[in-house]
């Protein structure tokens, strides 16, 4: 799975990417030397779980399909893959479109990956 992520990083011009489960456990990551995988995974899972909790308290109908956090030095975008989330790290001025072919292709490859 790391290969798929590395390819996505290069094709989409990402700083890094990772896959986490809905309960926030990291499945695979290709984040590059700038980031600590455990810390980013903890951040991503805390954000995801906190937002889900918040949505439940607002009795919001339907699951979130995407989430984007913009910070002064970068952006983190989550895309729902049903049984997991694709987390993409980019520069702060780069906005990602979830319907972009390169992202959809990576999601398809990850979801249809047969190797355990």
């Amino acid at each position: 799975m790391r290969e798929i992520l590395n390819e996505l990083n290069s094709d989409a011009g990402l700083v890094g990417s990772m896959v986490i489960t809905p309960d926030g456990i990291m499945v695979a990551a290709a984040l590059g030397p700038k980031f600590e995988e455990d810390t980013v995974a903890a951040f991503a899972s805390a954000l995801l779980l906190g937002l889900k909790r918040s949505l439940a308290l607002f009795h919001c109908q339907g699951e979130p399909t995407s989430c984007m956090l913009k910070a002064t030095g970068g952006r983190i975008t989550f895309f729902d893959m049903k049984n997991s989330y694709l987390v993409l790290v980019t520069d702060s001025n780069k906005k990602l479109d979830g319907s972009a072919e390169v992202i959809q292709s990576a999601i398809h490859k990850i979801k249809n990956r047969r190797v355990a």
Binding site: D23, F43, A46, S54, T65, G73
Partner: protein
């Protein structure tokens, strides 16, 4: 050869220490004797002399420190044995045991390493998740790093999902919530634990402490404020940002699709708000939801190296929640039928363009 010489001199010192201890079995003599036993790897003798000392001087810091050193040395020895087992066909219990021994020996890095190896080999074993959750719990207690608090609850939650009735998991989950100030969540878990396992050790004490913490929290909450006080507080919070609540309301009332908006502080407490009835979101009791939203952002993007939070957008089918950071406050909008970019543009316009209407 060198080892033999070293042992020879250690034995000489031991003989002298034994003689001194026989003459006057005080705290200092006992600690010195235990240290020498430890150097000669006579762990049982070291432990016996320290236990004897603690029976006489139960409050002695030096004796307790010596006991800790002996515990660590014993754990290191046992770890050597279990490492051989790990080379062959280890079970989940073997990884957990190795991790626990490494923790007792004071090597947290190694403790995490064994536990994570266990997780790779047994990803659905509740005891492995419990072990990792406990390690993060111990680390959080000493460092107070948010990442450890989060990892602790994540693994304990996972352990609970795999083994919902396991009392050890419930106990540590309650502890994990309590130590991070989530007293209500902690109470819910510990009440479940005490209902199912009334005799579980320390559960009643934990429940009492959590209840006391909740009482203290409630007592500290602000009382009801008058309308004038509320207006003054809102003005004081928004004016430094160049914002006026009436002007924000006017601006947003012109936009179709905004279901509700809030100015909240870092804790998620509402400074000012406007809500419309809508089936997409139930904003009638928004306090807990906004606090959870604020807590989600509190972990801090700066910790992972991408700087300070500017905004957060959460989208589903036909709805959007947008949070814009404004110093100590955040501006949160709930909308429907608007794209993510539309909401972001709208919020940018409001934040930049709305003047302070009634500057003092």
């Amino acid at each position: 050869m060198l080892h033999c010489i070293k042992n020879f001199f250690l034995n000489l010192r031991l003989r002298k220490a034994l003689a001194e201890h026989a003459k006057f079995p005080g705290e200092t003599e006992k600690v010195r004797l235990a240290q020498l036993y430890l150097k000669l790897s006579l762990l049982d003798d070291a432990r016996a002399i320290i236990q004897d000392g603690l029976a006489i001087y139960p409050g002695s810091r030096r004796l307790r420190e010596a006991r800790e050193l002996i515990r660590r040395a014993r754990a290191l020895l046992m770890l050597q044995d279990i490492e051989q087992v790990l080379e062959e066909e280890p079970s989940a219990e073997d990884f957990i045991r190795a991790s626990d021994l490494a923790r007792v020996a004071g090597d947290m890095e190694r403790a995490f390493s064994y536990a994570h190896e266990g997780l790779v080999a047994f990803p659905e074993d509740w005891a492995v998740h419990l072990a990792i959750g406990k390690l993060h719990f111990h680390k959080y207690n000493s460092t107070r790093e948010a990442v450890d608090g989060i990892e602790c609850l994540k693994h304990l939650d996972k352990a609970r999902r795999i083994a919902p009735e396991e009392p050890k998991v419930l106990f540590f989950l309650a502890m994990g919530h309590a130590v991070q100030g989530e007293q209500r969540e902690a109470l819910a878990v510990v009440e479940l634990l005490t209902a199912r396992y009334p005799d579980y050790p320390k559960a009643s004490t934990l429940r009492r402490r959590i209840r006391e913490a909740i009482t203290a929290e409630t007592a500290g909450l602000k009382g009801e404020e008058s309308l004038d006080e509320a207006a003054s507080r809102i003005h004081a919070a928004l004016a430094p940002l160049g914002l006026d609540v009436a002007a924000v309301r006017d601006q947003l009332s012109l936009v179709e699709g905004v279901v509700g908006w809030f100015f909240i502080d870092e804790e998620g407490d509402v400074i000012a708000s406007h809500v419309e009835d809508d089936p997409v979101f139930d904003l009638s009791d928004r306090s807990a939801g906004l606090k959870a939203l604020a807590a989600s952002c509190r972990f801090g993007s700066s910790r992972i190296g991408i700087g300070d939070l500017e905004s957060l957008s959460l989208s589903g089918e036909g709805w959007e929640i947008h949070l814009r950071a404004l110093g100590d406050l955040s501006f949160v909008t709930f909308s429907k039928g608007m794209s993510s970019s539309d909401v972001e543009d709208l919020v940018n316009r409001i934040v930049k363009a709305v003047p302070v209407a009634c500057e003092a």
